[in-house]
Subunit: 493 residues, 2 copies
Amino acid sequence: MAKELKNFTKRSDNYSQWYNELVVKADLAEQSAVRGCMVIKPYGYAIWEKMQQTLDRMFKETGVQNAYFPLLIPKSFLCREAEHVEGFAKECAVVTHYRLKNDPDGNGVIVDPAARLEEELIVRPTSETIIWGTYKNWITSYRDLPLLVNQWANVMRWEMRTRMFLRTSEFLWQEGHCAHATAEESEARTIQMINLYGDFAEKYMAMPVIKGTKSANERFAGALNTYTIEAMMQDGKALQSGTSHNLGQNFAKAFDVTFMNKDNKPEYVWANSWGVSTRLMGALIMTHSDDNGLVLPPKLAPIQVVIVPIYKNEEGLKAISEKVMPIVEELKALGISVKYDDADNKRPGFKFADYEVKGVPIRLAIGQRDLEEGTVELMRRDTLEKETLPIEGIAGVVKSLLDEIQENLFNKALKMRQERTIEVDAYDEFKKKIEEGYFILAHWDGTTETEEKIKEDTKATIRCIPFEGDLTPGTDMVTGKPSARRVLFAKAY
Amino acid sequence: MAKELKNFTKRSDNYSQWYNELVVKADLAEQSAVRGCMVIKPYGYAIWEKMQQTLDRMFKETGVQNAYFPLLIPKSFLCREAEHVEGFAKECAVVTHYRLKNDPDGNGVIVDPAARLEEELIVRPTSETIIWGTYKNWITSYRDLPLLVNQWANVMRWEMRTRMFLRTSEFLWQEGHCAHATAEESEARTIQMINLYGDFAEKYMAMPVIKGTKSANERFAGALNTYTIEAMMQDGKALQSGTSHNLGQNFAKAFDVTFMNKDNKPEYVWANSWGVSTRLMGALIMTHSDDNGLVLPPKLAPIQVVIVPIYKNEEGLKAISEKVMPIVEELKALGISVKYDDADNKRPGFKFADYEVKGVPIRLAIGQRDLEEGTVELMRRDTLEKETLPIEGIAGVVKSLLDEIQENLFNKALKMRQERTIEVDAYDEFKKKIEEGYFILAHWDGTTETEEKIKEDTKATIRCIPFEGDLTPGTDMVTGKPSARRVLFAKAY
């Protein structure tokens, strides 16, 4: 069993298969009986809960409150904003009936044709429409603004090709929907939230990101501007990890949401929306994990330290437990999440393999000889290095090592991205390097036509126009037309 | 506006209308554009979050882990357990298509007839079927048991008559689904969870409950036994506030979930499920609130203390703020949630009314004269009593008063229930007292026929066979047949 757990496809052999196996073997998620929908298993969900709690706290610190809006959206709502319906109405789950009845032929139940809805309802693919339909009643004066609301919810987009966490028909996310009195304030909030996502990604997920603006082609349907955080996965592909959209007055106009401004004149409200989803789980996995399984940054690990006793008989276990329990208490007092795994129906070797696959940052093992010598064996998951250390003061060692692992994971990921990010000026070179899995900074003439040609030729897309970086003008590598600056190209998930 | 906020229908005039108005005026929720679905507004959601956090902690302390299962359930899954499908398949939202397309007539979008699902999907009304369909893959040996899993989710039941929080087509809830190796263990967990709900209701919601067993007629579809907590609302009606179901081996048999027991023999797994929902919000409102609006028990109040400054000019506000800020810090240090409302676009009178309607347990008001005299005015929401107190030491006073309010609310609710719970032996008396809004302990012959006759005659149902209480046998008040013991009757929400 221990062997089976560790018997992974290697990343270098088949990255995609490695990912799929890891998700299942680390007990994160599995395919459900419903096409394209996954079951998030307890261990995977515990990681997602840590993300949620952190993000929720960060949102609230900026004044955001949570609320909840209906799952089902009337079809007519989707149609109100012209671009939005184009982007979202096409692949969605449609509720047409509200009752089943016994099959007259005796074969279970069938849809009751008499219970057809007058207007079909759509399982929300995103909630701008229902929320702006609601805001109409909430906003009358500038005094009601800003309205800073978030919801944690499930959404559905009927995807043809799905992969667990990365692209599933149903996924969990948060969607923030803010309403402001001025364009400036709304833009500032849009930027604030993409920066917040960037901080979360870098400080908690230990995942370096490039922040920037999406090209018109990759914008959210109905937005004036979409900002994104883009991360590099270990295969060199980009993963869009969070977006924040400046919606201008589009949804206020579509749903007729006006307010009386300070000069007592009616004005349309300014909007933004922003979200991250369980896709972040995929990003987390693909940023740090290795051929032995999951690697978790300590700040998001449900179990930060596991302690495994190695004993021959009950008496031996008892002696070890007596030594270990005060350490467990000490670790807890330091705010560290610790598990003492003294289960006697699994061998230490199995436990070692299991916690390795599950990415527990630090493993302590303690046996009879350690007891005698006052030592403990420590393994850190990020480097797989083992050390024998004095048991005295081990809690303090663990605490600072967790910080070190967190930092090491970030630095490692950053180093990889830096090594695999290059400037390219010739299209042939571009094609070659994209195939090899690079982030490429290249000149672009600013047109959707060129962008689409590049996508067709190479599958690479413009991930973003980075907020930071070289602003020197140049020449588009495909058309030779003038380019204002380099933008970021990559193949993406 | 202050007047308008307080201009409620009185409970004694129209209890139902009072409730509906309160939900809206206290900013808890509102009807959405989707029939039977509500929007939970930020203030209402903040109360629900407090409930969630507390329950989630209590669950986890008993070893429960969270997970997430799909929103949509294949129609065939619902049909697997015969009783279950009878109970749940009838009023549910049915997804039949997965795509919309542009209307050839140019009228927005229509359902694409080509995108019909082979098998219809049901928006989950509860998740036993999809979860037991999943557990089949998770359980092989007694070593995999018990499996203690909970999910926080939205569910849908297509209700014809809806009321916010009490009965909505979509609602939020948690559903726990445990799998055990023995019938005894599963029964013990079923009881453990109804006791946990009882503790939560009484200690956090300050809502006394009667715990007991449901009659066969009121059982969960597919359960051997359903346990319930029943609370009395201020109109004397009962509100079922949480249930825990012993499912025996019904779902294991329906989904063929077996395990190898310690004797290495295959056996069907034993199941239970348990849940509470946003209905608890309705219970909370109707237990404590009064003709002035919401009354919240301190332990679930998003704002426990509000401080309102009363000032004439900016200088006056500054002087007050200087005095108040250290108190705010002191209160926070005591773990008390405090809001200092120095917003200058609302008058103190409006703020007073608003926080009263919103049920903030304690209000402190401080004006120029208070500053001079070193005093503060304190109002407690439960009794509406005002007192002028020394500002020195006010944080300590607030802390113990919050405990006192919590206790007072519970005692008040308990007293009302005790006064309105009676034993009745004659059916005529029963009919009269039920109409007046009493909980009635009466003898019952144990048959569904009698239960249904009583329901038809009086609208009263058996709320439960209480765990505690008089076990003396007697005679059924309707049929004259022997009765094992008194059971609890009431009209119910």
